[in-house]
Amino acid sequence: MTLIKTSYGRRSFLKTSALASGGLVVGFSWLASCNPSTKDVAKMPKEWFEINGYLKIGDNGLATIMSPNPEIGQNVKTSMPMIVAEELDIDWDHVIVEQAPLNTAIFTRQLAGGSESIMHGWDGLRMAGATAREMLKQAAAQQWEVPISEVTTDRGIISHKATNRTMGYGEVASLAASLPVPKEVELKSYDEFKIIGNSTRNVDGLKLVTGKPLFGIDQYQEGMLIAMIVAPPAFGLKLKSYDDAKARSMPGVKDIFTINTYESVKGKSMFDVDAFPELIVVVGNTTWEVMQAKKAIEAQWEPFEDYQENFTGFSGQNIISQNVPAGRENSEDHYKIMEAMSLKASKIARKDGDPETAFKDAAKIIERSYTAPFLSHSTMEPMNFFADVTSDKAILSGPVQTPEFMEKSAAERLGLPLHKVELNMTRQGGGFGRRLYGHFVVEAGVISQKTKSPIKLIYTREDDMTFGTYRPAYHARYRAALDKDNNLVGFHVRAGGIPESPLFANRFPAGAVDNYLAETWDVPSNITVGAFRAPRSNFIAGVEQAFLDEVAEEAGKDPIDFRLELFERAKNNPVGESNDYDPNRYAGVLELAREKSGWGRESTEGVYRGVSAYYCHNSYVANILDMVIENDQPVVKKVYAIVDCGIVVNPIAAINMVEGGTVDGIGNAMYGGLVFKDGAPIQNNFDRYRLIRHKESPKEIEVHFVDNSEHPTGLGEPPFPPVMGALANALYKATGQRHYDQPFITNKKVIG
């Protein structure tokens, strides 16, 4: 056990109440048309007692635990409450999970991004559970008139051994709720965990497999209208005029108007990125009717002039100033521009030693360049949001990864004080970074305010795919210098993108090579981009790992040995400062991958292997990928994924995330790509935009976690980038050809 103080930063959750008052369950009752069965109702307590903002205990010993963060498929709705339940010391079967309201005074970081929900939530969640347990013990001790030190708990039962008395949490919940918050509480030690580390199935599982309305797009309220948008058909264009005469006369249509989403909003945050600020809106009775009317609108568009946009960064302090150039861009030009940029000296991001001399004196120089296209997030649930705005308050509800930020933007735009705006989080049909940018929340609010009616804004798939905050298009040129003994003596990366660079100057192999140079460049574009699952890493990891594979081959070394040699150097005698990785944990996953996959043992005929390892978003992942060729096509037979993310809270879900990230990495590297022509993506739905499908999925993924008691880190992003490198390296082995440009497979055959 460890004793900790209950004051935790500026956190005040222990005194503040998350809910209106104690008493009955409050929640999204209007959304809770998922009728609880009579069996469930019978199990419900007569009264709930709120112990702190995170949890309440019923008079029958059930606990309701709040899940603070947005659920986008990363399974925090199960894993975060598990951490609370662990320290509360209650049987998981006696836990009901509820999505918490947005209240960052209590729940701090209610954001789904950076794979940080568990990492940041860990201490606070444990404290919430431990504090409640301490108060329950205190209440029992008072009731029994014994010292608290003699009182123990086990899965919801409080005992006093000396007098052989026991009682359930429910019996003292009322008293516990009235006690002062203890100054110090005990936390369990790693080996005392009973819930953490045990596979626990998704708390929404039954609702999901029976089709209950959990998602934003499923929301309904009496009198609600459906709203859809018509946005410019290409980047570089804005609305000139439109004729809605025909559309207005169509059945079910209530109104057609334009909105300027961020009009009068002063301090836009980085999450207010908005490709098309002026939109035509169609409001009507049903989705199909609105869809038809939308098609009947005749709009004229015109080019816009260059302009400058300012956003505040994540902290709210720094200003990011962005140049938005005029014009209708083409991917073909982008590739030419990127190639030209990669041949020019660029801004130096890091320099160690004397790279110029190292390359001048090298026995061998290897130089390669790599590209990747724009990607669309394509969450399965298209963008949507519910809004009910009246003159004095706004209720906004739906899927968004940045609820706190969007609540602020909406309040400002709607001219309401923040406390008059309530933003509820629904389950989200995928995030991948797309829902960090919540312009659709503001749009929904403005539309509801204008129509004086509750509305649900829905994007069609075409709207969703063409109204992007895409993964940028990237380029990286690498050079490696080998001496006559095949030692890596110089390393040079020059990376950039449209409109953002993927470079991480301080990541491996920085720190492991004496002479190192990293350069970065970017070229402005009016195509809006944003974070996409493992931003920047989702390109640079794969290409770096493919390049190192070629360097190892040129040096005549086994690719794993070659990397491990570099990690040895970084461990014992690192070059430079601020290297952004722990070489021990990095080498650790690679060594375990070698062991688990039987790397180097006589490989099976016709099976081609590639290796990679990467560190991002605080976790380490190594992959070994086995490929076979069937009917002239590469087939991924098996992937080994070795992960070090510290303590694994919920193995069954963690494995799911690793499998999903692996499939996604292979999918995007093989098939993903959004191509622009005259400012418009030529793919606007799944007939042309390729996502990986059942048949193309790896046949097997074997996941291993490094067993340690390090502070837990995330899994939403880390398993995604590295597999692209292992894939490229296996593809080379299988086909004899290196693949430098993603997607590796478009419609062409890969075998040369």
């Binding site: 497999v209 399965m380 995030g431 799911n656 739905n685």
Partner: protein, 152 residues
Amino acid sequence: MATFNLTINGESRQVDVDPSTPMLWVLRDHFKLVGTKFGCGIAQCGACTIHISDVAVRSCQLPVSAVGEQEITTIEGLSENGDHPVQKAWLEQDVPQCGYCQAGQIMSASALLKANPNPSDEEIDQAMDGNICRCGTYLRIKKAIKTASSTI
């Protein structure tokens, strides 16, 4: 506008809509059966899969006027209490991530098993290829289909 008499999950229902309205929107907007999901609208993702006389059909491309007297089953009607073997297998394998595609996956899988209780890997791939899972739960889906297959 026209009136249509439909049999949905064993109940007769009536709706007054334009004949071109896809079943997807009839279910979601008119009957509030929102378990059937909208993903693409062009029969490319499978999120909207329902059963028409036990066969998996993409409801986004099925006009209400084409249904006639055939029985419609949606995810809500697949079983009374979520205890269809496929649903049970989905829970056992803890398949969903975001979960948005899963109703469609389950409807495709249950139609497959109805027609072919012991599908091979290739037959599963074939039958499920029209159902995209953006989260990449394909391996668990396949495992769950096999689990369900062994209990049918």
